[in-house]
Symmetry: C2
Subunit: 357 residues, 2 copies
């Protein structure tokens, strides 16, 4: 059984030890002779899981006091709606930086709540860069950014300095690098890249940022319901929260976010080094904005596609076909992807070059 090098863009690779523990807990959780998925979420065994998951988020990201941690359902797509419900004032306005497909969707969902200002966009060059010089309107209710753009392979290397509340969708790079949570009023992230399986979303909410809109908010979309319910206002997605907790524990055991940031930099350096060196390939994202999570690249000669595809498939590489909006290839190098897998891909690229003479 040879190892698969899993470059999937999400849901994506998780640490082998997490997979093993998750599989065991489905059979028999905490030696209860019951499965994790057939016990009450109000049992002390599951409450301990939820508490630990929340504590690990706080510890790993140095979350300051005054922030609440929530693990909810609905994905970032529902998050796009929760943002204006909780943060846009009645007759208010919000500023969005548009850096890709998901940022566009986030912005779309805020329309109808008030005025939506697209204060910067990289759509003119197929989202291949992160806009840098723009004014953040001081009278907007919040600024929304997407920290990493999975499809286009770009990433904010520095976050805007904002005098208005800043909200970030960090679905595809949370826990991959150090961040200063105090810069943000709210951070959200679907679990299925760096944190766990599909089925839960993390919210890090500054408590004092809530209740300022004058807006009626439906119960399930109101962060205050979930904070009051300690992330169990309704039945939580038990399995997804448990596996996220295990993944965060794995991160902590291995050196935390600081270690992860270094490892991810090594992987990115190796990957982009080869993309730039190898005359058969070219990267699609602006060099200074390249994502350490998702490296997007294309063949200079599309006629060689079949040959290259056969080679990486033979090397047990999986999930590197690019998104249709960019084409070519996308190597997603999330936290759990080992450096070794990147090396295997780089070796295939080198062998491919050699074969072309």
């Amino acid at each position: 059984m040879s190892k698969v090098h899993n470059f999937s863009a999400g849901p994506s690779i998780l640490p082998p030890e997490v997979i093993k523990q998750a599989s065991e807990a489905v059979l028999n959780f905490n030696n209860l002779n019951l499965s994790l998925i057939e016990i009450s979420h109000r049992s002390k065994d599951f409450i301990a899981v939820m508490d630990k998951a929340k504590a690990l988020v706080k510890e790993l990201l140095n979350v300051p006091d005054g922030y609440s941690i929530l693990f909810l359902q609905g994905g970032a797509s529902l998050g796009f709606l929760q943002v204006p419900f909780n943060y846009m004032k009645v007759n208010g306005k919000a500023a969005y930086v548009n850096t890709g497909v998901w940022a566009t969707k986030a912005q779309k969902e805020a329309k109808g709540f008030g005025e939506v200002l697209e204060i910067a966009s990289s759509k003119d060059k197929n989202f291949s860069y992160i806009p840098k010089s723009y004014q953040i309107p001081g009278d907007a209710d919040y600024l929304h950014i997407t920290s990493n753009n999975t499809i286009f392979g770009t990433q904010f290397k520095n976050f805007p300095v904002s005098r208005i509340p800043m909200i970030a969708d960090m679905s595809s790079d949370i826990f991959s690098r150090k961040i200063d949570v105090s810069q943000f009023d709210m951070i959200y992230a679907g679990a299925q890249k760096n944190m766990g399986p599909a089925g839960t979303i993390l919210f890090i909410v500054k408590d004092s940022s809530l209740g300022k809109t004058g807006r009626e908010i439906p119960t399930m979309l109101d962060f205050r319901s979930h904070i009051k319910g300690e992330s169990m206002f309704n039945t939580p997605p038990v399995f997804a929260v448990y596996v996220s907790m295990l993944t965060l524990q794995w991160l902590k055991d291995n050196g935390g976010v600081e270690w992860m940031e270094k490892t991810n930099q090594q992987k990115a350096d190796l990957m982009y080094g080869e993309i730039d060196r190898n005359p058969l390939f070219e990267g699609t994202a602006n060099k200074t904005d390249r994502s350490n999570m998702n490296a997007t690249f294309v063949l200079k000669d599309e006629n060689l596609k079949e040959e290259f595809d056969n080679m990486w498939k033979a090397a047990n590489i999986s999930g590197i076909v690019g998104h249709r909006d960019v084409g070519g290839y996308r190597a997603s190098m999330y936290n759990a992807l080992p450096l070794e897998s990147v090396q295997v891909l780089v070796d295939v690229m080198k062998a491919f070059e050699k074969k072309q003479g």
Copy 2:
């Protein structure tokens, strides 16, 4: 390792063969050498899971043509909000039958969308019965009912005959008995009782019932987005959908809903027979409205509580402590609970009676 008799109210018992397959898929799914939870939801392997889950729902419930099957996130609590968004006309009104805590929450969420008419309620007797004689207003946009009331142990034995669209929350009894889907414009059910683990919710939506409200619906709350996206508009809760599919396959393999209905009747007859026979106990729900899923009962003499509790705990019985709104005990007898477990509980009740002399 002695067997636990799991009467948990939800998340609740699942078939042992489902638990085993789920655990294996977390390790290695479809011999891909990858975990179920680390592959793309757009991969052919997962699309096959989603398609099969949807097909099984259609087959097991004889869903007529013109209905769509969705597996989404958010639970019934978000469903309470999706109902008025998709079905209540601008300046419209809706009729609700209030049979318990969840029915009350469903109703609450519709307020603000239009006029909410509570056309019947059993609140006067702590929701211990199902109201029967009430008028369904012909000019309301829909009638909402809760088919089974987990907390209070009551169940609609016959559904109202309604000339207006009928919507039912069937979270705690779907797949437990035959139903005529064509009576309903929409049925919804959280997975975590009879269908699977927490983390997904099933919607059975009559296609022609949508798009009639004149209301702007946020993308993620609009059933049309999800029907168009074939239940994958955004990343689905992969694991929860997979385990639901396995559970539905188990149901089909064992004789389908018809077999389940008979088995559930046997379990209920055994359980309620003992509650009625044993002079130390009494049931809390109106006999004609008793739920075949959740049997609620109390000790006539509360002073005997500790003794009885020690006895059922010694018999490896789990999850029968009643909800705080009713007190006493609740034996949840969902599909996967074997008759044998009910027999064990009944035997404990008999032994307890004997001990009291």
